[in-house]
């Protein structure tokens, strides 16, 4: 008869195994080269065919050649076998080869374990909450398969195995939580391999040209989330300030690469008496740029960042991982005097200023008595003339500002902001372009603000002697809705070319439901990041201090964990062992002591020897002990095998054995 380990699974379970392993690899298919993907899929499919035709399973030689082919395939795509992609590619290829080789149940065990390993590697690419659920579900299913493969019967009935596997995972949860809380944290994951994360992350870049922000506005990716402790400020005040642009070549604007002499202390803000700073927390998604965002104007400098003279918050390096920081902002402020350097930069004009632009500014200057009035005139111009706010502006040529102002008159915020900046500079008002995000969506489920890439915005800051640097948003002049309501990327697809449509907040049950679903998903994701991925070394230390274990940190915590884990495992093992061994009757214990004492005299009781036979043997060997041995054995037999089991006899028996000192 064959043992279960020598038999293969039933056909149904083989298909399940193939499906599960395919699902385990599935997210990787986008992470690795197509050649590897094809290799895996081809072998998976071949093995699926071989389930009903076992003759298709290749013999040793073809298998050897296939293995060589697989290795060559990996080497072809990853000539130096180093790094995350190469490792995953190798793993996936080996999984495929092992699949083809699957003959006996032992191969199934190996395949399931490779499957677990593949699942773990998913976290090298993604740490999202849904992936955790996906991986957990696959782990339960694979474990169920493993459980079922231990059974001899061949009927396909996965429920009992699923229940066992689910139960095992449930039992593992407390351990997981304990290890999560107390295992020493690293500031980056163990498997963090360095530079591989710096892939293109969408976001505001260090350069603004017509079309760069409208491109972003189609992305519903989250830029950052904000927790306001108390009240959330109204949408029109939520300008999240990012890079500041001073310099232009006439078509694109680049963020200030400030020189060393500017690295002074940030300018002092003077606030009115009534001004109340806003406090909030920002959780920022990874970004490829160094700016971090705050409401204008920031008062705090998070660790690892500094505040520049033009109120940019610059990190020392781009945040490659999710970043959470506390922030305070003052919305009512005066930035003080203008330095000569700022005045010079704020008035610098590119070469391609056209006469009709100058003419336009001069017409405003003529009709206004002050700079402030000129600004209002300019905003009025945008409002009264035929300007259209659109997500799909026409392509502009060499001189986008001129073309936009006088010809196309269709544009997105960056068109308005860049042209406005130039016009203000022509009028002699120091002006700078600011990039960032505007508004954001309040998630009522988590009571926090989601700011998406589609909220990317550009606006202008002008310097007026009476108010210092002040924000002016020419887009608001054209489409005040842009400031009042968030842009809905979902509605964009069908309105190419048409003026932008904004979310109607009461737009029917379906879209309401959709929005709620999106809020719910985002709230889940945000909590996942906040409570699980964001559990940093510092937070762990904080928790340990709360528990009064502040002295345990770093390696000490590691040693403590090892000791505690060891003790726990030993304790559990002991309990399990104890549970299987019933506590012997005290009479039996005393009788064993009696036997041990006799054993010391050289008369050992054979385990299968009955008490009477033993007593007879002892008396035969040591007639001098007849009285005590007969009394003890007789009483023992009476208590244990006869009807003499009562407290009095037990006490007497104990006494007799205690007194028995041969």
């Amino acid at each position: 008869m064959k043992r279960p380990a020598q038999l293969l699974l039933s056909g149904a379970w083989q298909y399940v195994l193939l499906l599960l392993l395919g699902l385990a690899v599935l997210p990787h298919l986008f992470n690795i080269e197509r050649g590897i993907t094809l290799f895996f899929l081809a072998l998976l499919l071949y093995r699926a065919l071989a389930v009903s035709r076992p003759g298709l399973i290749p013999a040793r030689l073809p298998l050897f050649l296939l293995t060589l082919g697989g290795v060559a395939n990996v080497l072809l795509h990853y000539p130096i076998l180093f790094g995350r992609e190469a490792g995953v590619a190798l793993l996936v290829s080996m999984l495929a080869l092992k699949l083809v080789e699957m003959r006996v149940r032992r191969d199934v065990y190996i395949l399931v374990f490779i499957g677990y390993f593949v699942l773990i590697t998913q976290f090298l690419y993604n740490e999202a909450g849904w992936l955790v659920l996906y991986v957990a579900a696959l782990v339960i299913l694979l474990t169920a398969l493993l459980v079922d493969s231990q059974r001899v019967k061949s009927r396909f009935n996965p429920l009992p195995s699923l229940a066992t596997s689910g139960l095992m995972l449930l039992q593992a949860i407390p351990v997981t939580i304990a290890l999560f809380l107390f295992f020493p944290r690293f500031n980056s994951p163990l498997w963090y391999l360095g530079s591989e994360r710096s892939q293109a992350v969408t976001g505001i870049s260090g350069e603004i040209s017509p079309g760069s922000i409208s491109g972003l506005s189609r992305s519903s990716e989250v830029a950052f989330r904000v927790d306001f402790g108390a009240a959330t400020p109204p949408a029109a005040q939520r300008y999240w300030r990012g890079p500041v642009f001073w310099d232009t070549d006439g078509s694109s604007w680049s963020a200030a690469r400030e020189s060393a002499d500017e690295r002074g202390p940030p300018p002092v803000l003077t606030a009115s008496e009534t001004a109340e700073p806003l406090s909030y927390h920002v959780t920022m998604e990874p970004s490829s740029e160094r700016w971090i965002y705050a409401l204008e104007l920031p008062l705090l400098t998070p660790p690892g960042a500094r505040l520049t003279a033009d109120f940019q918050l610059l990190r020392n390096s781009a945040p490659e991982r999710r970043l959470r920081y506390r922030m305070r902002s003052l919305t009512d402020y005066h930035t003080g005097a203008l330095t000569s350097h700022e005045r010079e930069r704020g008035l610098r004009l590119p070469d391609n200023i056209t006469p009709r632009m100058v003419e336009l500014v001069q017409s405003w200057r003529r009709s206004s008595r002050s700079d402030a009035e000129l600004v209002l005139n300019a905003l009025d111009h945008f409002r009264r003339q035929e300007f259209y706010y659109t997500l799909y502006p026409p392509l502009l040529g060499e001189n986008p500002a001129d073309q936009f102002l006088f010809e196309s008159r269709r544009g997105f915020c960056e068109h308005y902001a860049t042209s406005f900046t130039l016009l203000m500079r022509i009028a002699g008002i120091p002006t700078r372009l600011v990039g960032g995000y505007q508004g954001g969506e309040i998630n009522p489920l988590g009571d926090y603000l989601i700011v998406r890439q589609s909220d990317a915005h550009a606006w202008v800051e002008i310097w007026l002697p009476e108010s210092g640097w002040q924000r002016v948003d020419p887009t608001a002049a054209v489409a005040p809705e842009r400031i009042e309501r968030p842009l809905d990327p979902a509605s964009i697809a069908d309105v190419i070319g048409a003026p932008i449509r904004f979310i109607e907040l009461d737009a029917g049950l379906f879209s309401d439901l959709l929005r709620r679903l999106r809020w719910g998903a985002d709230a889940l994701n945000a909590s996942w990041h906040r409570w699980v991925l964001g559990y940093s070394r510092e937070r762990q230390h904080y928790l340990m201090r709360l528990l009064g274990l502040g002295f345990l940190h770093g390696p000490k915590l590691g040693y403590a964990m090892i000791v505690i884990t060891g003790l726990t495992v030993a304790a559990v093992a002991l309990i399990l062992l104890r549970r299987n061994r019933e506590r012997p009757d005290p009479v039996l214990r005393h009788y064993r002591a009696f036997c041990r004492r006799l054993a010391r005299l050289g008369i050992e009781r054979v385990p299968s020897e009955g008490p009477k036979a033993f007593a007879d043997r002892v008396i035969a060997q040591r007639p001098d002990l007849t009285a005590s041995v007969a009394a003890i054995s007789g009483l023992y037999i009476g208590i244990r095998y006869g009807r003499l089991d009562n407290a009095k006899n037990r006490a007497r028996f104990t006494l007799l054995v205690r007194r028995f000192r041969p």
């Binding site: 012997p584 039996l588 054979v606 385990p607 299968s608 020897e609 009955g610 008490p611 009477k612 036979a613 037999i637 009476g638 244990r640 095998y641 006869g642 009807r643 089991d645």
Partner: protein, 305 residues
């Protein structure tokens, strides 16, 4: 009462020399209301022992010599037409007696064997739709030659199971054999044997054997013996619950015979080989003769707690 039992043993020992433990086991078997199978080579005293027990217990006994042409009717009897009264009269066969000696039971065909074995199980005989109860007490002492001799029909396992004990006599030791050779003829000795027990006395003894006390500890031990036989790979098949009951019944009778009113592990151990050997098969057994070794292995492997 134990005096009567002692006398029984002593008297039997006068005829069957040097086999006291076998005699005690045989008496225990009868006290436990069990049927007895004696298996050994011809000429070691099987038939004499059966005869002796019948005489000592004062039971009405008949002997059936099993041969290959024996028919069921030869055992249980048959109906014969009565011409005077115009009806069938039932003429009971030799099975209608208190002690039946079935000599060389494995010489008969399975058909004849099963006629006796059914009577043993049911304690009654059914002929032509009419049931006739067998007398009480009803014992069967069967003898057989070792199964591998030529011209035998070995009893199947299920029928072996109906015998409470299987005993082997073996050759006598040197001293006993000398005595035997020099002594009187066994047959004439048997003639002189007087019954030691009345029927009521036998029934009373059987009742007392049933009443022997079983403590939880001894039940545990018994159960461990059974469980060991089921879990150990050397055993082809474990002991059945019926085997367990048989073991306890024999052990109780043995305890009574030893003058005890409670069961000790020693009692179980004393009757275990005789009670279970014919019910056990080793995993790698082809001859069916390893039961005794297995029983010994079982005894030595299970610890008395």
């Amino acid at each position: 009462m134990s005096d009567a039992l002692e006398k029984l043993v002593v008297e039997a020992g006068k005829v069957i020399l040097g086999k006291e433990s076998v005699i005690r086991l045989a008496i225990a078997c009868l006290l436990a209301r069990g049927h007895l199978l004696i298996e050994d080579l011809p000429g070691v005293g099987k038939t004499t022992l059966a005869h002796l027990l019948a005489k000592l217990l004062g039971l009405h006994y008949q002997r059936i010599q099993f041969t290959s042409d024996l028919l069921p009717a030869d055992i249980i009897g048959n109906s014969i037409y009565n011409r005077n009264e115009g009806c069938f009269d039932f003429h009971p066969g030799p099975v209608f007696s208190q002690l039946v000696l079935a000599d060389e039971i494995n010489r008969a065909t399975p058909k004849a064997q099963s006629a006796l074995l059914e009577a043993m199980e049911e304690q009654q005989v059914t002929i032509e739709g009419k049931s006739y109860p067998l007398p009480q007490p009803f014992f069967v002492i069967a003898t057989q030659n070792p199964a591998h001799q030529i011209g035998t029909f070995p009893l199947p396992e299920s029928q072996l199971d109906r015998f409470l004990m299987r005993l082997e006599l073996g050759y006598p030791d040197a001293k006993s054999e000398r005595l035997l050779l020099s002594g009187e003829d066994r047959r004439s000795l048997l003639q002189q044997i007087e019954p030691c027990l009345e029927l009521q006395q036998l029934a009373e003894l059987q009742r007392q054997a049933d009443a022997v006390y079983l403590s939880p500890a001894i039940l545990d031990y018994c159960q461990q013996l059974l469980a060991f036989s089921r879990n150990n790979p050397r055993f082809h098949r474990g002991l059945s619950p019926r085997a367990g009951l048989a073991l306890l019944r024999s052990a109780k009778a043995w305890a009574l015979l030893s003058g005890r009113r409670q069961l000790l592990p020693e009692d179980l151990q004393a009757v275990l080989p005789a009670t279970v050997a014919h019910r056990l098969h080793a995993s790698a057994d082809t001859s069916g003769s390893e039961g005794a070794q297995l029983a010994q292995y079982l005894l030595e492997s299970v610890a008395v707690a």
